[in-house]
């Protein structure tokens, strides 16, 4: 009993570098497993619930997330040298698609063929 090595606080199940981790205090996982803000593309699917919980859900954080998304799109497609109507028309086409999906239920009755 005295020679027993102390069980580590976190135990990795799997090869080193995998995120398959369990620990004695599961609540401490959030602080110890994801210490750095990861981008969504770098997060593994197993970590997704943990990542979602680390995101800022305060009003200010939500606004900042929207602003980030807006300026990412703006700088890539709209705010460019020799811009064209493409940047804005992509947004408008997405709007048309979205409104079509929302009003699909009413439009279903106007199908010209029975089995579309």
């Amino acid at each position: 009993m005295a020679n027993k090595t102390p069980t580590p606080l976190l135990q990795q199940h799997g090869p080193p570098g995998s995120s398959n981790i369990s620990g004695m205090a599961l609540l401490q996982d959030l602080l110890l497993v994801v210490p750095v803000e990861k981008k969504l593309m770098d997060v593994k699917i197993k970590d997704l619930p943990n990542w979602i919980l680390t995101q800022d859900f305060t009003p200010k954080g939500t606004i900042r997330a929207f602003q980030r998304g807006y300026y990412q799109y703006d700088n890539k497609y709209v705010n460019i040298n020799k811009g064209s109507t493409l940047g804005v028309s992509m947004v408008l086409e997405a709007d048309v698609l979205f409104n079509y999906c929302v009003s699909y239920k009413e439009l279903k009755h106007e199908q010209l063929r029975k089995n579309h």
Binding site: V78, N81, V88, V91, D95, N99, V102, L107
Partner: protein, 226 residues
């Protein structure tokens, strides 16, 4: 058929939640803030158009009336962009709802009236009586002018609602008529299609004109009262 015709004027609902606020705020995404001295093409075009309309609208006002220019130009841009976005297929136009137009018209009109009463009480009361009326007609004319004063916000709102709603309804009707006529008589369907095209061009014009008329009338009420 009736239900289908008015279905496009119902408020869009996603998973049981009405998304009216998002739909109203959507046109703001299409007007980015100019950050630099020389901006990208889209912002430069918007700046040029805004300068054109603001000069046209505000040049006839006194300096006191020109303090309203931000309000009036943003009103014009909002109504014009909302109406134009309503020309996209399947989209929802907030200005077809009388509630929203009343919410725009009544506060603005009331603002102009209160400014007039507060700063130039005698002159705004004098507006109730046209010049050179015979003496015995004065009481009746004052009543008529008061009624016409109170009708102004209602007329503003209903004018915008009726124009946009009627245009959209006509487009729906003539579009479905064209579709139905295609299997019956192709030539008539072609004529109906030409009518539809002309109507679409008219709708685009109406979208802009209505915005201009709304803003112009508010600015006229302002001119009377500053």
């Amino acid at each position: 058929m009736n239900e289908n015709l008015f279905a496009s004027f119902m408020i869009p609902v996603v998973l049981g939640i009405p998304i009216t606020t998002l739909t109203i705020m959507f046109p703001t995404m299409l007007f980015p803030t100019p950050n630099r001295l020389i901006n990208n093409r889209m912002v430069a075009i918007q700046q040029w158009l805004t300068k054109l309309t603001s000069k046209q609208l505000m040049i006839t006002h006194s300096p006191k009336g020109q303090t309203w220019s931000l309000m009036l130009i943003s009103l014009f841009l909002f109504i014009a962009s909302t109406n134009l976005l309503g020309m996209l297929p399947h989209s929802f136009t907030p200005t077809t709802q009388l509630s929203m137009n009343l919410g725009m018209a009544i506060p603005l009109w009331a603002g102009t009236v209160f400014i007039g009463f507060r700063n130039k009480t005698k002159m705004s009361l004098a507006h109730l009586l046209p010049l050179g009326t015979p003496t015995f007609l004065i009481p009746m004319l004052v009543m008529i002018e008061t009624i016409s004063l109170f009708i102004q916000p209602l007329a503003l709102a209903v004018r915008l609602t009726a124009n946009i709603t009627a245009g959209h309804l006509l487009l729906h009707l003539i579009g479905s008529a064209t579709l139905a006529l295609m299997s019956i008589n192709l030539f008539t369907a072609l004529i109906t299609f030409i009518i539809l095209t002309l109507l679409i061009i008219l709708e685009f014009a109406v979208a802009l004109i209505q915005a201009y008329v709304f803003t112009l009338l508010v600015s006229l009420y302002l001119q009377d009262n500053t």
